[in-house]
Each structure stands twice: as structure tokens, then as C-alpha cells.
Amino acid sequence: MKYFHLIWAALFRRKTRTFLTLASILAAFLLFGLLDGIRTSFAALGQNADGAQRLQTSSRLSIVETLPLSLESRIRRIDNIEDVTYANWFGGAYQNPRNQLFTFAVAPNYLEMYPEVEVAPAELEAWKRTRTGILVGEAMMKRFDWKLGQKIPLQSTIFPNSDGTLNWEFDIVGVVRAKPGKSAGFIDAMILMHYKYFEESTPYVDANVGWYVSRVSDVRRSDAAAKAIDALSANSPHETRTMNEQAAMASQLKQMADIGLIVGSIMGAVFFTLLLLTGNTMAQAVRERTSELAVLKTIGFTSRSVLAMVLAESVLLVVIGGVLGLGLAAVLGPIVGAASGGAIGLPPIGWKSWALGLGLMAAIGLLVGALPAVRAMRLNIVDALAGR
């Protein structure tokens, strides 16, 4: 530590070069911050403690098939199942059939399954009273600038209303928010309507639901409960498949895109390029200072401390650039989100990304400094001072 000022001075010996290199490192870690935020937030979907308790039951035949409503009471009687709720896909679109929103027709107790979100008690009461009432996620309220109490027209891309058209009208009676300190996942970007109103209005649905969500009291025995639910309808025309929320989410995301692979390959290319670039800078820096290093050795610095100083310099260079880059990503994410009106949601950078980033910085710094540092250590004083 006592050599810190020496390392610092060496780092900023050539200001232009150091700043240019820092800017490259900054760009690389800015990208890392943005991409890793996306990767981890995808990986974390459904992985919360509340999600582990929930089982999702859908049709084995296809995810668009429905299940009979009569299954509810039978699931409820299974050992270890605390509560059951159900929902149906509504396929709502706002203003334009391509502008599709997550819109579900749900049972009255649907939100009780999701303790990570909350609705003001008065608003929840209002929802239960109003047949055409909907609860809207906070993010979606912001996106369309809706107000509580407003009437909004929605078009279903699937289900006609009782008058035969696809146009529906709903009253916004409440807002769904994440509880402080919890992540709401998709719930704060959804619209929830009454299943009863939906089922009675549309001629297409007759006591059918899209999927069931059940809560187990003992997470360790949830596999057995899932098997018991599937056994209820085995060999019937409505065979089911039950998974815990985490597995269901993972399997759906995997089908969408292998996010990990894409992010991994981009970052691979970025860091490979960075390694080369910074490596070249460090080699240049050490080559230039050959005679200075020789002087250091002459006045009694050991070879090992010269090695350590060069290594420390390169690690410091990468860490400064990297921390600035990650910091910029942390600042930029929310700004982009706000500027796009919530349409692009860049996740905040979690401690895991920071830890991984710092680890990478140290590793890259050591790797990049290794060759020049070894060269500095092996420096022959006489040759170096003679300029050979």
C-alpha cells in the first residue's frame, strides 16, 4: 500500500493513453452491466421464495387448451394443497390488435396466491364489487397514463363479447403494486379482470379455465402434490401437467431464446478484444519505462516487488475503467427506462452482477499485466540501463 502513489504516478504517466484505454474498458463494462442485468433478471424470474410454493397446472395437450372448472374442488381436496385459484387468457389488446397486453380473467382469490404484490384494501373491495372492474399493474398504468376510475376499451384478440363483437369495456378500480423490497415479476405489468364476468359474457367459454395455480403448505413435498394433481385427470380428455412456477417459467423462457448463450457469446467477443487492447497498452507502458524500472531495482527494490507493482498497475487500470462502466450502466438503465415510458425495462444491476464484474476486472487485470510484469521482473539492470 505504501507504494500506491508510485503506482498511481506510473498509471498516469501518459495521460492520453491512459484515458483512451480507460474509455475502452468503460465501454466494455458498460455493455457487461447492461447485458448481465438482463441475463440475471431472466434467470431470477420465478425464483423467489413465494414462487417456490406455487404449482401451475395446465393442459398436457397444448398450452392453448382449456381445463374444466370442475377440477378446482378436486385439486383442493389433495393433501398438502392449501389453496387453489384459476385464470384464463383473455388476449387483450389496447388501441391496435398488435398492441397486446397481458390480460387475464381470474378467480376472486387470485391475488391471495401472490403475497409479493399488494392492492390497497379499499381498491380490492371495489374490484370485488364491480363486475366490469379491473386491477391494473403499476407499470402498465404508467405506460398508458391511465387514471384510477377511468373506463378503458380493450379488444380481445380471441374472445367475443355477448354482443358478438370483440370489443370490451372495463373500469379501472385498483392498482397492483409490488410490496416494498419485493420484485413483482410480471404482475405489475398485467390486467386482471373477473373470470365470472368474462365467462358469462363470452359464448366461447363454458366453465373452462386456462390454468390452475395452487399453493402447497410444505414445499418439500410439492413434487408429490404435483403428481397427485396430474393423476386426477390421467387418461381423461383433459390430461394436465403440473410444474412448480420456477420450472414452468424456465421452460417457457428457454423456448423464447437462450438468453444465457447470446449474452455469453457477445461478452466473450467483447472481453477477448478488451484483453488484447489493454494488454497492448500495458506492454507499451512497461517497454517505455524499462530504464525507470532498472533504476528502481538499482536502489534496492526486489524483483518480486517490481512484479507486484506492474501487476497492481494493470489491475488498477482495469478496475477504474470497469467500475466507471458498471456505474454508468447502473445510472443509464433507469434513465433509458424512464425515457421510453416503461416500454424498455432495463433491470437494475444487482450485487451479483457487481461481484461478477469485479471478479472479471481483477482477472482481466492480472491476465493483461502478467506478461509485462514478468518481463519487468526479469529485467537485467545493466542491460536496461545501457538501453540494450
Partner: protein, 438 residues
């Protein structure tokens, strides 16, 4: 006064840079070719042009001595271009696969308000009415070339063991006639009335157990795969079976999701659309299949393009600084040589041009290398995603010549920015200082 002067100079430089980049992005290649030809003429014919050429020759011939530093520029830019081209190739491949599924002379009819087949329902009566439209082409026996099809999604295990969804399309005989591009490459067509499937090549590649002769359980029923087809578009990710059997297995009665109709020619479409719109018994969406499939792919390919360009831009900024660094070092190491040239009468412009040309040469090599890598690794690479709501769609990355050209343009832009400042430094270095130094 000096401060104002240096400020004005920096500002002018910035404007020049912005103008160059804007022109570079906006101009089509013939205009750029014209500029290149003019530049070559200047180099060949004028005095300062010939000076620039000779200085460039010296710089390029000594590149080999600075191999390490120069390769940083090349590889840095190759990285940017490689990633950019790969990401854009993904967007392009997706768009190509989905939008080439349609033609201008085939129409698709869906229920009004439905944006995808999976969400659409048409009753038997409506289908009969649609098929009577006079604009639909007819075969030798006078039957309309229209195919009513049922689309459902089926859960099938993927190769990695987890369940995925495949589009299962229930069709009749006409489906093959309406799509002349469909080719059976293995086995045979399904027989009407039996639980038999023909699967697309893309679906077979992605899902387990879709080989001819194998049996597949959908729900509690057993189906047999009897053939494989190929079409080079989105249909390849589907499985086809007899419409009647699919509708009974999925309890759809006599309804279907969509009607594909072959029109007499592409011009008949607006008349066809008007006929359907005028019929009070129908409330339908009518589109040419080309239009329908392009709309399906629009959103995702736009997102993919934006991701490609954002990631590419951030990487490009990093690479610009890398190039700046290297070129500053190059100029510094050649300071004496450049000062000598200027002392014996070379003007500033040739020196600037020479350094810029050298950087852009390195950048071009990097761009070509990156494009080549992206082409070698990713051209034809298959990926899959979800399309039309739920079912999976497999597509191939497509590294097209247009994308390679775009990659090269990016590389040259990076080279331009990375070379400009070091070049100006070289041209303005005080001659006496530079000669005395080192």
C-alpha cells in the same frame, strides 16, 4: 485569442466528423464509389496527391514492424464487426424465414380482430361463403383453390428433454396445392382419417422423436409420424395432419382457424378483400400472405436489430478509443520521420491523408476479418424462438452480402474517427521539436 482559435478548431473538427459520419450512413454505395474514384484521381493526378501516395506507401511498408500494435486495431474492429454482423444476421434470418412464407397472390382470411391464426375461429358457414368468392383461382375440376386450416399448438418434448410447443396444422388436400413450395423429402403424406403426421424439417431438428415411423403421444392419443417436408420458411417448424382428425382431437367441431386462398393473380387481391368486406355474413381480416407474415415478424426483427445496433455502437466506441491509442503511438514512434518529411517540403495534407489511409486500411482488414468470422461461424446457424404467440419457430442466421457491406462501413467509420486525431497531431507537430526529440 489562442483559446478561441483552438476552440473554434475543435468545434470545426467535430462538425466535420459529424458530417462525415452522417454522409457515410446516408449515402448509398454508388455515391460512395464516386467519392472513392474522385479521391483516387486526386491521388494520381495532383502534386499533393502524389505526395500523399508516397507517404502512405512508406507507412504501409513499415506496418510489419509494428505488427503487435497494428493487430490491436485489426482485431478490435474485427470484434465489433463480428458481433454486429452476427446480431443483424439473426434479425435478418428471422425476418427472411417468416416473411418468405407468404406471396402476393395468396390471401389469408382470419376472423375480424384476430392478429394470428392461433386466435382466429371461422365457422363452417363462413368458410363456405369465403370459398365462393369469384376472385379465388379454380383447378381443372372447377374447385376453388382455397384451404381451410385449423391451427393448434401441441406439447412435444424438445431434444433437451423439456416440453416445448409445436404448431399442429390440420389441413385438407388443398393445402399442398395452395403452397407450391412444399416438398416432401422423406416418407409419404398422411392418409385422411388416420392419426398420422408429416413434420417440417425445422420441427424435426428441434424436437425429439419426430422421425418417420416413430410414434408420438399428444395428450392421451398416439400419432404416427409418416413423412418429413421442406419449404424453407416458417411452415417448416410445423407438423401437419388431417384437418378432421385434428379438430376431433382438439374438440374444435367443424370450425377452422383460417382460409388460405390462391387468387387468380396478385391484382385480384383488392377485389377479393372488397368482396369479403361487402358480405354482411362475414366479419373477417383479409391480407395477402406476404403482408400477414411480414407483420408477424416485424416486431421481433425490429427488436433484434435495435439490440444489434446498440451493442454494436457501444463496442464501436470502445474500439475507437483502442484505435486512437494505437495510432497515437504509431504517430509518436514515427514523429522523427514525419518531421523530416515536412522539413524537406511535404505539406500537412499529404501527411494527414497518409495516416488516415493507414488507419482505414487496418480498419478495412479488421472489418473483413470480422465479417468473415461471422459468416464462417453463424451463416446457416439455426436458432429458435417463439412466434405467433406460443409455438416455436426455428430459423437460420443469414449473413447476407448487404450485412457484410454494412459491417465494412462500420469498420471504416471506426477507422476514420480513430485515425483523424492522430493524423492531425502528426501534421501539426512542430518540426524542430519532433526532430530534436527521441
Amino acid at each position: 485569442m489562442r483559446l478561441v482559435k483552438s476552440f473554434l478548431r475543435g468545434f470545426g473538427l467535430f462538425l466535420l466528423l459529424a458530417a462525415f459520419l452522417a454522409a457515410w450512413i446516408a449515402l448509398p454505395w454508388p455515391a460512395l464509389l464516386g467519392v472513392a474514384v474522385l479521391f483516387a484521381l486526386w491521388m494520381a493526378l495532383t502534386r499533393s496527391g502524389r505526395q500523399a501516395a508516397s507517404v502512405t506507401r512508406v507507412g504501409v511498408s513499415t506496418l510489419a514492424q509494428r505488427l503487435g500494435a497494428s493487430s490491436v486495431v485489426v482485431i478490435g474492429i474485427a470484434g465489433v464487426v463480428g458481433v454486429l454482423v452476427a446480431l443483424l444476421a439473426m434479425a435478418e434470418g428471422y425476418r427472411h424465414t417468416v416473411s418468405s412464407s407468404g406471396t402476393d397472390d395468396t390471401a389469408i382470411v382470419l376472423r375480424g380482430g384476430s392478429s394470428a391464426e392461433l386466435m382466429s375461429v371461422l365457422s363452417r358457414d363462413q368458410i363456405t361463403t369465403i370459398e365462393r368468392a369469384p376472385e379465388i383461382a379454380r383447378d381443372a375440376e372447377g374447385r376453388p383453390l382455397a384451404s381451410a386450416e385449423l391451427v393448434v399448438s401441441a406439447n412435444v418434448p424438445r431434444l433437451d428433454g423439456e416440453d416445448g410447443s409445436v404448431t399442429l396444422r390440420g389441413v385438407g388436400d388443398m393445402a399442398w396445392t395452395v403452397r407450391p413450395g412444399m416438398k416432401l423429402v422423406e416418407g409419404r403424406k398422411f392418409e385422411p382419417g388416420r392419426r398420422e403426421l408429416v413434420v417440417g424439417k425445422g420441427a424435426r431438428r428441434q424436437f425429439a422423436g419426430l422421425d418417420p415411423g416413430k410414434e408420438l403421444r399428444l395428450g392421451n392419443q398416439v400419432w404416427t409420424v409418416v413423412g418429413v417436408f421442406e419449404s424453407g420458411d416458417a411452415m417448416e417448424s410445423e407438423m401437419w395432419a388431417d384437418g378432421e382428425i385434428v379438430s376431433s382431437a382438439y374438440r374444435r367441431g367443424s370450425s377452422r382457424a383460417s382460409v388460405f386462398a390462391k387468387l387468380a393473380d396478385a391484382k385480384a387481391f383488392s377485389a377479393f378483400k372488397a368482396t369479403l368486406a361487402a358480405d354482411p355474413r362475414l366479419q373477417v381480416e383479409t391480407d395477402t400472405t406476404r403482408e400477414y407474415f411480414s407483420k408477424q415478424s416485424e416486431a421481433i426483427s425490429k427488436v433484434l436489430r435495435i439490440i444489434g445496433i446498440v451493442v454494436g455502437s457501444i463496442m464501436a466506441i470502445g474500439a475507437v478509443f483502442g484505435a486512437l491509442n494505437t495510432m497515437f503511438a504509431t504517430v509518436a514512434s514515427r514523429a522523427r520521420e514525419i518531421a523530416t518529411l515536412r522539413a524537406i517540403g511535404f505539406r500537412g495534407a499529404p501527411v494527414v491523408v497518409a495516416v488516415m489511409l493507414e488507419t482505414m486500411l487496418l480498419a478495412a482488414v479488421g472489418g473483413l476479418l470480422g465479417g468473415l468470422l461471422a459468416w464462417l461461424v453463424f451463416n446457416g446457424y439455426t436458432a429458435s424462438t417463439v412466434a405467433g404467440g406460443v409455438a416455436s419457430l426455428s430459423f437460420e442466421f443469414k449473413v447476407s452480402p448487404g450485412l457484410l457491406w454494412q459491417g465494412l462501413k462500420w469498420a471504416l467509420a471506426i477507422g476514420f474517427v480513430g485515425g483523424l486525431f492522430p493524423a492531425l497531431r502528426a501534421a501539426t507537430l512542430p518540426v524542430t521539436d519532433a526532430l530534436r526529440a527521441a
